[in-house]
């Protein structure tokens, strides 16, 4: 395929010899975007959190303003009982700690460490577990996006294989918008990242929105400092 590479690159270079005559670029657009972003961005952490919660609800996510581990575990126990869920897969140290609290509150809950065991076994097992408890690395308030940097989480599987996923989001890592998010999180080359905004969805049948396409049907976020 080396020959194809050279043929394609030669063809591109040859085509580009003809200079573009497209209209002039407006060089100041970026400055105006930044200025506009500044004017609409909440100035304090509380404002950002409020914006995140509002945006999340608009996309059918749920924001539960609980930050203490016991309170979070209590809420999860309630949701699990209400829906008849008996097993939960977790990923991350703080998630593990909340999962332990959950075990104290509801000892009958089966807990599975998303990172334990070989990949195929974990994959097949977590695919049958209805609930996930995970952590976000960063978040952006203006679009309610959660960023998961794969270098920082032990397993991604509970994030997307479960039906109902609880996410611990550190409010200290909640940024105003996607532009700040990409500037701040500075992943090194070779890092995988997943941004998640709400539960999975489709509108492929007559434009009717249905939640829980191939991923979670519910996504519930707690502002938990860690």
């Amino acid at each position: 395929m080396t020959a194809s590479r050279e043929i394609i690159l030669d063809a591109i270079r040859s085509s580009l010899k003809v200079p573009s005559n497209l209209p002039q670029i407006d060089e100041e657009a970026d400055q105006r975007i930044r200025k506009s972003l500044q004017s609409i961005t909440p100035r304090d952490a509380a404002g950002r959190l409020k914006q995140f919660a509002e945006e999340l609800e608009k996309i059918s996510g749920e924001f539960v303003p609980l930050g203490a581990e016991t309170e979070i575990a209590g809420h999860i126990a309630g949701v699990m009982k209400e829906n008849g869920y008996s097993e939960l897969a977790f990923s991350g140290e703080r998630a593990k700690s909340v999962a332990r609290r959950l075990a104290e509150l509801s000892p009958e809950t089966g807990l599975v460490d998303g990172a334990e065991g070989n990949f195929e076994q974990r994959r097949d097992r977590i695919a049958r577990i209805p609930v996930g408890l995970v952590e976000a690395s960063w978040a952006a308030a203006d679009v309610a996006s959660l960023a998961v940097i794969c270098d920082e989480v032990p397993s991604l599987l509970p994030h997307y294989l479960t039906e109902c996923v609880f996410v611990l989001m550190n409010p200290k890592k909640l940024l105003a918008n996607l532009f700040e998010l990409f500037e701040k999180m500075t992943p090194s080359n070779g890092t995988n990242i997943v941004l998640v905004a709400g539960p999975s969805r489709t509108a492929d049948i007559e434009k009717i929105l249905i939640l829980g396409a191939h991923g979670p049907k519910r996504l519930i976020v707690f502002p938990a400092e860690f």
């Binding site: 591109i12 080359n189 434009k207 191939h214």
Partner: protein, 466 residues
């Protein structure tokens, strides 16, 4: 379903006689436009985003060789195998070869127009490899034996009743037209396929040159499962998908979901920088990127038409196009449709096969106004119309008609007579009846000629104005 742009007229006639299709397309396009407008209204810097995105795309396209080689180098450093394919045949063979050498029996695919472009599914299935689309809309059209009718809503032309009957027939389930139930069936069926697939094939929305990573954007989580579960991940990418660095991405992450589906953000943005099994203990052991030319380097040669390579496949120009709204996607006869399809078809397939496509536009300019990367589609459509004429691919009756008009236009006396005569002849017909025009008047009426004629009317108006 084998379609060809050469039969566009036939497809249009069929579409115009299908009220169910018209209703489905109307509902889908109007819903999308209204949701899009709602989101655009909430982003005060929308127009500047479009300008900036246009500038980024221009920078990349004008230096495509540099960014592609940078991407290749970084991707290889991340452990990705990078393949270059000059055309669809090479790309298909690269993927088949990879599959055969690794004894791949089943493949799950996430939505990718680039793989539609090279007919990858049919090829792999013909070669004995189960290949399943997993995006719900794509899954439906694959079961139906069709191709997508919209860039972002593949099954837009189908009703829930048709989908219910399809699932009953193909999946052997009791009939239901409840979208929740239909989705649950697809989810159950495909979950099993995801867990057992040997290879996952995805498209690429954007590739980051400085990081060597590819970005796959979606809402259903099927792409996440496709790139995260099988042992091998193959990403098929058009050459034009590259961006300089990660900081360029947020502009497009705002523009694409709002334009495509009227969302503030897509549910999943997957940035994949290499095979993750060794590094993270899960995900693919191998990752391959197939860089596909398939005519793109040829499109680059025109200093204006190269702008069509800026397209991010959002489908907004389809939703707003009065032609698409009437005839839907299959009428265009290829995998790209709407105003952007009308520019890409003659460029990819040649002016002979695509001679009708650039004329599938009213040139109203709505596509230019809505395009998130500001592609001047009406201008490019006009230019491509010129090309069709210059390359001698116009239909004979157009050529004859224009020649006749040119002959008369050069002879004012004859022209006066020719524009006066039909009006006079018309008086022989019953009132309110117009001349028949073969073909045209089969399904609609031709207007009656003006009694005075344009020339006399114009001169009279001119006199009044002084």
């Amino acid at each position: 379903m084998e379609l060809t742009p050469l039969k566009t007229k036939k497809y249009i006639h069929k579409a115009l006689l299908d009220p169910q299709l018209k209703a489905a397309v109307d509902k889908a396009t109007q819903t999308s436009l209204s949701k899009r407008q709602d989101k655009v209204d909430r982003i005060p810097y929308w127009e500047d985003l479009r300008l900036k995105a246009n500038a980024i795309k221009r920078e990349v396209i004008e230096n495509l060789d540099t960014y592609l080689t940078q991407f290749e180098q970084q991707a290889r450093a991340n452990g990705v195998h990078v393949h270059w394919a000059q055309d669809g045949e090479q790309a298909r063979n690269i993927i088949l070869d990879l599959a055969r050498k690794r004894d791949v029996k089943s493949i799950v695919k996430s939505k990718s127009l680039t793989t539609e472009e090279i007919h990858l599914n049919d090829f792999l299935i013909e070669n004995g490899i189960e290949t399943l689309e997993t995006d719900l809309g794509e899954y439906i059209v694959q079961l139906m034996g069709q191709i997508p009718s919209h860039l972002t809503a593949p099954a837009l032309h189908l009703t829930r009743v048709e989908i219910g009957k399809l699932f009953q027939e193909k999946l052997g389930i009791p009939y239901s037209e409840d979208p929740d139930e239909l989705l649950a069936v697809a989810r159950r069926t495909l979950r099993d396929k995801f867990l057992n697939a040997d290879m996952g094939i995805s498209g690429v929305n954007f590739a980051i040159a400085s990081a060597g990573s590819v970005c796959v954007i979606e809402n259903e989580a099927n792409a996440r499962l496709t790139v995260g579960l099988p042992k091998i991940h193959v990403a098929v990418m058009g050459l034009e998908k590259v961006l300089p660095d990660l900081n360029a991405l947020p502009y497009f992450l705002r523009l694409l979901p709002a334009s495509a589906t009227g969302q503030m953000a897509s549910v999943y943005v997957n940035l994949i920088a290499g095979p993750s099994r060794a590094k993270y203990g899960e995900g693919p052991e191998e990752m391959h990127v197939v860089l596909l030319d398939n005519g793109r380097s040829k499109i680059l040669a025109d200093p204006q038409l190269r702008e069509t390579l800026f397209c991010i496949r959002c489908g907004a120009c389809l939703n707003v196009c009065p032609i698409y709204q009437q005839v839907g996607g299959h009428a265009y006869g290829w995998v790209y449709m709407g105003p952007i399809g009308a520019t890409l078809i003659p460029q990819y397939l040649g002016e002979k096969e695509g001679h009708i496509s650039p004329f599938l536009s009213s040139l109203c300019g709505a596509c230019h106004e809505i395009c998130p990367v500001r592609i001047n589609l009406p201008h490019h459509l006009l230019k491509l119309r010129n090309r069709v004429v210059e390359t001698g691919n116009s239909p004979w009756f157009w050529v004859l008609g224009i020649r006749a008009w040119a002959f008369l236009a050069k002879r004012p006396g004859l022209y006066r007579f020719a524009t006066w005569f039909p009006g006079k002849m018309q008086q022989l017909l019953p009132r309110e009846t117009a001349f028949p025009a073969p073909g045209y008047t089969r399904k609609r009426a031709l207007a009656r000629f003006d009694r005075l004629g344009f020339r006399k009317r114009f001169m009279a108006e001119d006199k009044v104005k002084g």
